[in-house]
């Protein structure tokens, strides 16, 4: 990167199905003011603002960018919106970091907001993201498509519904330690297994909720970052990636699929042995089974056989070798266009030592990822990855 960049502050709203107490601009204002407080900055210190939100139909207001820009602190400043589906929040951070790295700005605020819970028919909105000629009308939605990927992986690699239920229970328990999490329920593996089947093999307690809320992340140059905070989270690696595939294609199987964005982020951060060098992960895992494949795709397991054993051994638990989603993750909080930014914010929180009950003690290197897409004909998937660290590279 041209100039070193660090995260110097983060802010999140409380997430829930319907935040009746706040309008959309008010949610944005809540997140941006929390981030400014966290960094001990005023809005005058911000040079430029990037905003992310997913499909407008969740919220039911078109062109929300013009509605929320003042609450984002963008008055008299450059402002633009980015959108890459579920990866939106990560893409917004990339856009902010690139402004600082390139020298066009010194301090940039990225903010993302979504109100998935404002419509009672969120899956109907997601039923309208497909190619209207080649895929619409086939009852595709993100739960049914992901269920198919899970069923294929179960058959091919031999893990069971117990394995995914174990991961779901772990994430739900983690969310109890996160004041901002949406779903906070203490559920056992048996509770998950006994919850209603939505789309076999996926059950209710293995699926993310529809959340309302916002998140903001402030990034700054090295010179500013060192003045702003004694605990900056350095963006040592960052990459975005676009691919086109359909479920069932071999390139999606974890042992075949290369997370180019993750590998690129590792390379620039100098990570050649992630299992030794990374202390905590906040990956984009909207369904419980996502974590098994991630162990391979993120470079922690050599193959799926090892990944399944790692689930059994509690590799990603808070007491395990590398905690996965100490926040409870996407499984417990999913304000779609905002979700990937929460991953970056949570990773930064661990590096800055501000995680309170969910803090991974002494975390020096954290991984965050984002992913958005529908894996349908004529449709792309977007992903991004970040390595945040206590020491700059």
């Amino acid at each position: 990167m041209a100039r070193r960049v660090a995260v110097v502050g983060t802010g999140q709203t409380y997430f829930m199905t319907r935040r009746k107490d706040a309008s959309a601009p008010e949610l944005v204002y809540e997140a941006t003011t929390r981030a400014l407080q966290d960094a001990e900055l005023s809005v005058k210190d911000i040079d430029s603002v990037v905003f992310g939100i997913a499909p407008e139909a969740f919220m039911g207001v078109n062109c929300p960018d013009k509605w929320v820009s003042d609450g984002a602190g963008a008055l008299n400043k450059p402002f633009f919106r980015v959108h890459t589906g579920g990866a939106t929040g990560g893409s917004a951070v990339i856009a902010a970091v690139e402004q600082v790295a390139s020298g066009v700005a010194d301090v940039v605020m990225a903010v993302a907001m979504d109100r998935v819970g404002q419509t009672p028919v969120a899956q109907r909105v997601l039923g309208l993201i497909w190619d209207p000629i080649f895929a619409m009308g086939l009852s595709l939605n993100l739960i049914t498509v992901t269920a198919m990927l899970n069923a294929r992986m179960m058959e091919k690699y031999g893990y069971t519904e117990w394995h995914t239920a174990k991961l779901a229970s772990k994430n739900h328990k983690n969310a109890l330690n996160n004041p901002y999490a949406h779903l906070k329920v203490d559920v056992s593996v048996e509770d998950v297994l006994n919850s209603p089947v939505l789309s076999w093999p996926i059950k209710l307690l293995e699926v993310c909720p529809s959340s309302d809320g916002a998140c903001a992340v402030i990034v700054a140059t090295e010179e500013k970052a060192r003045k702003i905070t004694s605990t900056p989270a350095w963006v040592n690696g960052m990459a975005g990636y676009t691919y086109v595939t359909t479920p069932g294609n071999e390139d999606l199987d974890p042992e075949r699929y290369v997370s180019f964005d993750v590998r690129k982020a590792y390379r620039s951060a100098g990570i050649d042995n992630p299992r030794q060098q990374i202390d905590v992960c906040e990956p984009y895992m909207p369904f419980s089974f996502s974590e098994i494949g991630d162990y391979v795709q993120l470079g922690f397991a050599k193959d799926m056989k090892e990944a399944i054993k790692m689930v059994e051994d509690g590799f990603g638990e808070m007491s395990g070798e590398i905690p996965f989603a100490p926040s409870g993750g996407v499984l417990c909080t999913n304000p779609i266009g905002c979700t990937a930014m929460v991953r970056v914010a949570e990773a930064a929180i661990h590096i800055m030592g501000k995680g309170e009950k969910r803090q991974v003690p002494g975390a020096k290197v954290a991984l965050a990822t984002g992913r958005g897409g529908s894996m349908a004909p004529a449709s792309a998937t977007f992903s991004n990855a970040f390595i945040l660290a206590k020491e700059p590279r």
Binding site: R124, M148, S199, W200, G248
Partner: protein, 157 residues
């Protein structure tokens, strides 16, 4: 304490209509389904991948392939599946089987319904369905130029 129960929510509804342009390639795909009961694909002139639904360009080689059509043999394999057990708003009444299918040696999978499976007992059904099972394309008698002009069913041994 704030009187949270009194917070106002205004009801709203989007009632919109569209006319989605299928383009020349999409038009031919749909027309072939309707008039000739056959599934047509386009083949990349550089990498030889057979793309279905047909694509105007190969996204990897970035060349136009819109005039290089091939007909797919109407059978193939089930590559992924789920048994949908919930009513999602605006979607098909459960239970039903949704899958992605590799048809006629194509290089991509198409989503569709797998019919002809007894779903009265889901535990039994999920043991009957498996990745790689052979399927055939069945065209409906009355076709309207929609994806629903055909469906998939298992090829019984």
């Amino acid at each position: 304490m704030e009187p949270r129960s009194e917070l106002i929510e205004m009801p709203g509804e989007w009632n919109l209509r569209w006319l989605y342009a299928a383009g020349e390639v999409g038009t031919r795909y749909i027309t072939e389904l309707r008039d000739h009961a056959r599934i047509m694909a386009t083949k990349c002139t550089e990498c030889d991948r057979i793309l279905v639904p047909p694509q105007t360009y190969c996204e990897r080689c970035f060349v136009s392939i819109k005039d290089n059509w091939v007909e797919l043999e109407p059978k193939g394999t089930l590559e992924v599946f789920t048994i949908v057990n919930t009513q999602f708003p605006g979607q098909r009444k459960p239970p039903f089987v949704l899958g992605y299918f590799r048809i006629g040696g194509a290089s991509a999978n198409i989503p569709h319904f797998l019919e002809g499976i007894d779903l009265s007992d889901i535990d039994k059904a999920k043991r009957e369905i498996h990745v790689g099972m052979p399927v055939r394309v069945v065209f409906r008698e009355k076709r309207e130029g929609r994806l629903s002009d055909f469906y998939l069913e298992p090829i019984k041994k």
